[in-house]
Each structure stands twice: as structure tokens, then as C-alpha cells.
Assembly symmetry: C2
Homo-oligomer: 228 residues x 2
Amino acid sequence: MKKAIVLLSGGLDSATAINIAKSEGYEVYALSFKYGQRHLHELECAKKIASKVGVVEHQIAEINLNVFGGSALTDAEISVPKGREIESMSEGIPVTYVPARNTIFLSFALAYAEVIGCHDIFIGVNALDYSGYPDCRPEFIEAYQNMANLATKEGVEGTNKMTIHTPLIDLTKGQIVEWGLKLGVDYSMTNTCYDPSPEGKACGECDACILRLKGFAENGTTDPAEYV
Amino acid sequence: MKKAIVLLSGGLDSATAINIAKSEGYEVYALSFKYGQRHLHELECAKKIASKVGVVEHQIAEINLNVFGGSALTDAEISVPKGREIESMSEGIPVTYVPARNTIFLSFALAYAEVIGCHDIFIGVNALDYSGYPDCRPEFIEAYQNMANLATKEGVEGTNKMTIHTPLIDLTKGQIVEWGLKLGVDYSMTNTCYDPSPEGKACGECDACILRLKGFAENGTTDPAEYV
């Protein structure tokens, strides 16, 4: 069986991505990060999702990104924006962007892949209904894959064919939810919210919540997650 | 003044690189890692070097690479090879190679750069007298730079010109030491050894020690570092 590493934040997109990897016949290794995010509740979600999917292993790497700050998700001094119009979300890069986060996450996945002898990494990035993040764009992923194919032992030996899979990259949130529901993803286990309550209830008003609610509405169904 | 981030391990190469950045007029930000390395003594060296150079800030990021293992430098079960011939060092990739380490280090530097508004990252990689590491090769650095220019806010805005500086990449250890001595680098502060004694004395027999000693010999001088 082919191995795949799936970056698993515990949100809607990564929960869908890990189920896609599983449905494609991969033996799944999940990788999550404790990186100083304010929405730590998502790690509890990640554990439940990994367990439900049936992964070989779920690694949670601790890395401290708040030493650098610079994002509403890692710096308590910066507020998460609420109640924005969807149209305005892709104008400019919001304060919830965490500098180089996907570059760092993929680099840990690359190390993990090299150690376990894996050539497939899944990441649930989404460039359509996204919040304007530079490291969710197809051109970034392509450049990352090129670099990854030179970075490792197999890159030297010329046998490496590392593939970064982005099954959700050109889908709307509605299409992502549709695919996930077909695969039987239990979205009540996921946390998308940038600013959940202490008990883990979603705010319903940040960019991530607004996009998520739209995704369920487009499928004529309601989101099973709890909102405040 | 232009800002530069310098990856500073505390070894001979990075000590030279940080002095080069300083001599080129950059305002220097040093970045080191506590990554589960067996030669933790190098971090004490990094602090001394950063302080002597006069950096604006020295960040030490804690990241746990031993969760993945796979290297003699992070896994106590794997021994550091001793007494190898220099000619044989570039045949194959040694067990001291840490999977994706430079990819991960550069990714943290990229995050740091984005937060402080810096466009220059220095890394003391060396592809000539090196130990066969894939992530020290020029083609890797070039691919990394291409990726970095798409990964960040400025990548989206099209204004980014992130440069990965590798001043040592095509030099011999002898040439690196020559340059460093001209700049007044105090090599007694550096630790190159993969397997130093508990007091921080170098073993003199690992690949890194052997290459280092050759570098000083080529300059007709002796290494001021302490050996067991």
C-alpha cells in the first residue's frame, strides 16, 4: 500500500482531504501542529478525525510561531476580523494570514515523508473560496514541489517523485462539502473557526465561518458544528 | 540599513556567514534552532558569536525534529561515523544528514523575514567540501528561492525579491577559514563537531571535524577550538 502524509489542521478542508487520501487507497499518516494558534481546540478535532479515518500514525509537532508574531492567529494583540462580505475577503491579504505557515508545514511533512519513505503529501489548500493567502495558490504549490524534489536524499539519487496533492485547490466550499458528505465525513468533528469560544463553539462571523456556512447552504444542508 | 537574517548554527560555516553579512553592511538578525540535536553545545556557541557580531536580535526557535528521527544527529540510537577519509565523504549521503533540515530552517527564516520586512537570508551551506547533503546544493537553493518568492504576501503583490545568500557555497574549507580570518572571526567560539564531549570539546574524528581541521591546515594555522 502506498503511504501518504496528510496535513491535518482539524478544519473542514483538511478533514475532507484526509478522507480523500483514504478513499484513494493510501495508508495515511496524519501530521498536525501546535504552533501557538489561538484556536487550539482544532487539535482536539484533528485527533478525532484521524482516529475516525483510521491512520497509521498521527504526529503532532510542536513549533513555536508566535516568536515571530505577525498574525491574528498567533498574536493575541491582533483581532480576528468579523462580519466581512465574501466579496471583500479576496481583496488583499487578511490579518489572519500566518507568515510562511504552509511553507513550514510542508517542510515538516517533507522531513516526515523522507523518514518513512513516502512520496505523497496531501494538503487541503483552496485557492477559490479562500481568504487571499499567498501560500494557497497553485503557483506556490508547484514551486514547492519542484524544490521538494531537490531537497531530499532521493533528489540527489534522482529517484524522487514527491507529489504535493491539492485535491481541493480549485473547488468552491460548496463543492468541498459535497465531496466530503459523499465520503461520509463527519463535519461535526471539525473546527474551522479562527476565534472559537473556550468550549470550542464557532463564532459564525469570522471569514472561515462565513465561507463554511456558505458551503453547507450551497448543498441545501445545515452545518452540524456548534455555534455560539 | 538593509536587514538580513542569518541562519546561525554555531559552527564554522555559519560563524563565517554571519560575519560576511555584517561586513556587507547588513543589520543582522540571527536565527538558531533547538531541534533535538545531540550537539546542543553549538547553541551556546551561537549565542557567543551573535553577541560578538552585534546582532539586532537572536531568535532561538524550538522545533522538535526527533519526532521523525532518521538521523545520527537527532537519534541517539544511530552512531556518528568517525575517522572517514575525505574522499569517501561525498560518496552517498551520510547518516548525519537530517531529513529536510535546511528546508525547515529556511522556512522559519522566511516567516521571520516576512514579519520584520527583510528580503535577504544568509545560509552558510557549502557544496564543495561538504558531506554529501542534498540540501546544500546550488540547485536546491535556487529552487528554494523561487518558491520563497511565491510564498509570501509580497509574492502576491509582485514586489518580493527575496534572496537566499550562500556566500560559501563554492568555497573549500580552506577558503572559508581564510575569509573568516580576514574578517576577524574568533573560531574558538565555534563548534563544528557532530559528537562533542559533554564539556563541548570536539572529537576530531567525525566528518565535520576532519574537514574543519583540513581548512585550518590549508591556511598554515591551527584551529583554536578545543579537542578531546
